[in-house]
């Protein structure tokens, strides 16, 4: 098996000092660290070295964290095929990992590693220095055994950045520890997510419902008839964004180049042909198809996305949190087809479409097959941490 790290930081001491003093963190080669190889797991970016630190990297460093190195990732972080995300944390090599969450990767990697995985609200964390693929859907996720670590890290990296105007001008959540009163807290379970569950998914979800009930939370069953459309919208809108986004990989200034082309156009075509892997290539093809051949379908998907956002807002107005199943089994390279990938991520992709925060928590039993997801309203990240920490605390016999 390939090594976990593709690059190790020769510096082992932190440059800054602050609340994250000594915390060891790994990132992936799609998160810029100045001078480090930043190929986003793709031959299309081979030999590209980041010119600057991503805002979140410089914030972590200033807060005293040590960036240990880069872990092996899937091409552009799309899906988990070929990725070692989660392994550095589960083997104790680092305290936390940063993994871009395009469709649920940080949560699924956490499931695989049996640790906590968190995808923040869209717009909470600066995009500056992140080499993504689906800008409107992705965000930087955090994995750690300790949810408190994740909260402390998100607190440091969240918030306005003068280098990224795309962050909405909104009030930041207060990340200090909060009290949770189970009797006054409603957790919604979406009926549509309960059907079609496979294998351990179903028993894990029921175990989670029982755990919450036992802790005194109010469980409310709710209907979200179009829940299955999240995958479809992600697939269409995401692939169009990806196709547009990846148009810049032309092999001219960096990236794999096929020698001997007769002209620029030929060089461009043959280099791209060789540079991208099969999964990403089929995704880009699909995006190009929707953009150039079926633009109407793309526009429909954008409209459906807006409607799904409204539906989710309505749903979140009736519950404080949502409880959702985790993925069916852990991803392997065998799922590296486009449809297989979307199948795998069908429980997590909703949060990427809506931009709401979502948290993967392993089950009390500590099996990769039996965790669950909790989601909150957009920018309700701090409350979601409080909820997660309350549950983990209960398991350890702590009192609320």
């Amino acid at each position: 098996m390939d090594s976990i790290f593709v690059y190790l930081n020769p510096e082992t001491v932190s440059e800054g000092s602050g609340p994250l003093q000594g915390l060891k963190i790994s990132i992936q080669p799609n998160i810029s660290a100045s001078g480090w190889p930043t190929d986003a797991g793709s031959n299309a970016l081979i030999n590209f070295k980041a010119l600057v630190d991503a805002t979140l990297v410089s914030r972590l460093r200033e807060a005293g964290a040590v960036i240990k190195g880069l872990t092996r990732m899937s091409e552009f972080g799309f899906g988990l095929a070929g990725s070692r995300a989660g392994d550095a944390v589960s083997r104790g090599a680092v305290d936390a990992e940063l993994v871009l969450d395009l469709m649920g990767e940080s949560r699924l990697a956490a499931q695989r590693a049996v640790v906590c995985g968190f995808k923040p609200s869209y717009g909470l964390i600066s995009r500056y220095g992140l080499i993504g693929l689906i800008p409107s859907m992705e965000n930087c996720g955090v994995l750690s055994r300790s949810l408190k670590n994740i909260r402390e890290m998100v607190k440091i990296i969240a918030g306005p950045d003068e280098k990224d105007f795309s962050l909405p001008d909104e009030k930041l959540p207060d990340f200090s520890p909060q009290k949770v009163n189970p009797k006054k807290t409603t957790v919604g379970v979406i009926t549509e997510t309960k059907s079609g569950l496979q294998g351990d998914q179903e028993s894990a979800l029921h175990a989670a419902i029982d755990e919450l009930k036992e802790a005194g939370f109010r469980i409310k069953e709710m209907s979200f008839p179009d829940f299955s459309l999240f995958s479809l919208v992600h697939k269409i809108v995401g692939s169009v964004e990806a196709s547009s986004c990846a148009g810049r990989y032309d092999s001219v200034r960096y990236g794999h180049r096929v020698p001997g082309a007769k002209n620029w156009n030929e060089m461009y075509l043959s280099s791209r042909e060789e540079a991208f892997g099969l999964l990403v290539k089929s995704y880009l093809f699909q995006g190009a198809f929707f953009q150039f051949q079926r633009y109407d379908a793309y526009e429909d998907a954008c409209r459906i996305r807006a409607r799904l956002l409204e539906d989710m807002q309505k749903t979140m107005s009736k519950a404080d949190f949502l409880l959702l199943p985790a993925a069916n089994g852990v991803p392997t390279d065998a799922t590296a087809s486009l449809s297989g990938t979307y199948e795998q991520f069908s429980p997590t992709v909703f949060a990427n479409v809506t931009g709401q925060p979502a948290l993967y928590l392993p089950s009390a039993s500590g099996s990769a097959q039996s965790g669950f997801q909790l989601a909150g309203p957009r920018l309700g990240d701090a409350r979601l941490f409080a909820m997660g920490e309350y549950l983990l605390n209960l398991r350890q016999g702590g009192k609320s």
Binding site: A40, F48, R127, P135, S136, V240, E241, R248, D250, V252
Partner: protein, 477 residues
């Protein structure tokens, strides 16, 4: 069959904002290649574009100056095309929600009537990089200069309201004037800060048909736009009369051969909304604040020059076309110079002199204050017009005041009657034949004598007094 043309223009204007549209790099495309670059405008992975507030304001002022309606919400889209001058694969442009809609310009048509030429919309976009084709030994190479990449542009898209090359040229001239007033761009086709594409189709005169259009590019002066449109109209007319069909394509204007030639079009796909650059939202207050920053527009200013200062329409239009000239003129009036004097000296003396020296009116060392002082001495009869012209030359070369130059160099006008009287007597004594000519009824001799007297005074005599005294003397003779 008689044809008429249906013409629409697409005008790219490069804004004179200090920075590029989405980064802090200097907006100086002409600098040493690839000096003004950063990860954002090199379009490197991980860079995040940030819309420049200054560029947005310049664009918005331009819209208002053209009578367009700023939209409460506009947004950027990704215009996808693949070409080495755009190694990002897409250009950020506003395809779906432009910055403004509507607007237009009234021009005076060839027959003297006023014609309204409407604008469909105005949108912002980033410029692409510049390709430089060179030879490396015997191998042709293409170099990419990113200084221009991400430079702030607006595109003004007109309605197909134009029928003649004349209308297009008048529109462009008026547009240039108004955009200069707004302070948004120099709009120089020669320097490439204004680039014009024309969409041209023809139809039988009097019908409402909209036929296949041909796009013509690569004109680098307003004159060339007129020539290219005229050529394309006759080419299409000949084509239709020969029974051929006009096909949709793009042609390049060849200014040397004065013809349009077909070019290969770039592949261009539909635009998708950009997911990163936030939408631009302008409130009514924002728009009001922007409007208040817009100066009086040239047409209104020219009207005021006629009604307030008694200039002719032509003079007023000339003075108001360039905001620097108009401002200079008004500063002179503020210093107490009579409008006609200011107009005359500005247009016949100062502007040509400034141009000859390659200076700009806004920055020439002959400031309005110094020039006004000179004109004041002229109207107070302290110096005559000859001397004033000479002092002007000195004003360009020294920092001294006109007053000091006049005194130091003896330009002061001689108005002392006694002194002039003896000067006249001396000259009359020297020129008996001219005096005889005058007495024989040749009035031209008077002018000759005045010239001789002026010369004898070293150009300093007050010509009015000379004329008066000489007339009296000759009468008595």
């Amino acid at each position: 069959m008689e044809f008429e043309a249906v013409i629409g223009l697409e005008i790219h204007v490069e804004l004179n904002a200090r920075t590029k549209l989405f980064c802090d790099c200097p907006n100086n495309p002409g600098d040493e290649p690839n000096i003004n670059t950063c990860p954002v405008c090199l379009w490197f992975p991980g860079a995040v574009p940030r819309l420049s507030q200054e560029a947005l304001e310049k664009a918005a002022l331009l819209c208002l100056a053209l009578g367009a309606e700023l939209q409460p919400k506009s947004a950027f889209d990704q215009k996808v095309y693949y070409y080495p001058d755009l190694p990002k694969g897409f250009q950020l442009s506003q395809a779906h929600l432009p910055l403004s809609r509507g607007g237009g310009i009234d021009i005076t048509d060839e027959d003297g009537t006023t014609k309204r030429l409407r604008i469909h919309h105005i949108h912002m976009e980033e410029d692409v990089a510049k390709l430089v084709h060179e030879m490396e030994g015997r191998v042709p190479i293409s170099l990419v200069d990113f200084n221009r990449a991400g430079a702030p542009l607006v595109e003004i898209v007109t309605e197909p309201d134009f029928r003649t090359p004349y209308q297009a040229m008048e529109f462009l001239k008026a547009l240039r004037t108004q955009v200069r007033y707004a302070g948004s761009s120099e709009c120089s086709m020669e320097n490439g800060t204004m680039r014009v594409d024309a969409n041209i189709s023809i139809r039988p005169k009097g019908t409402g048909q909209m036929n296949t259009k041909v796009e013509v590019k690569n004109m680098n002066s307003v004159r060339h736009v007129g020539d290219a449109i005229a050529h394309e109209i006759s080419r299409q007319s000949a084509c239709v009369q020969a029974g051929e069909t006009v096909v949709l394509h793009t042609r390049l204007w060849d200014p040397d051969k004065k013809v349009t030639l077909p070019m290969r079009a770039k592949f261009e796909g539909p635009c998708v909304p950009d997911p990163i650059v936030p939408a631009i939202e302008l409130s009514q207050q924002d728009i009001k604040a922007l409007r208040s920053r817009l100066p009086e527009m040239p047409a209104a200013r020219a009207e005021r020059f006629v009604s307030q200062h008694g200039l002719t329409g032509e003079e007023a239009t000339f003075l108001s076309t360039d905001p620097d000239v108009a401002a200079y003129f008004e500063t002179l009036l503020g210093q107490g110079i009579a409008p006609r004097t200011a107009m005359h000296w500005l247009t016949t003396q100062l502007i040509p002199a400034v141009r000859d020296r390659g200076q700009e009116l806004g920055t020439t060392p002959v400031t309005p204050a110094r020039f006004a002082m000179l004109l004041k001495m002229l109207s107070n009869d302290e110096i005559n017009a000859n001397a004033a012209r000479e002092v002007l030359v000195h004003l360009f070369d020294s920092e001294e005041s006109p007053d000091a130059i006049v005194h130091a160099r003896g330009f002061k006008q001689v108005s002392d009657r006694g002194e002039l009287d003896s000067l006249i007597d001396r000259v009359l004594g020297e020129q008996p034949s001219a005096v005889n000519d005058f007495r024989a009824g040749q009035s031209k001799a008077m002018g000759f004598l005045i010239g001789q007297i002026m010369q004898a005074s070293g150009g300093k005599a007050n010509p009015k007094i000379i004329r008066e005294l000489l007339a009296k003397k000759l009468e008595k003779m």
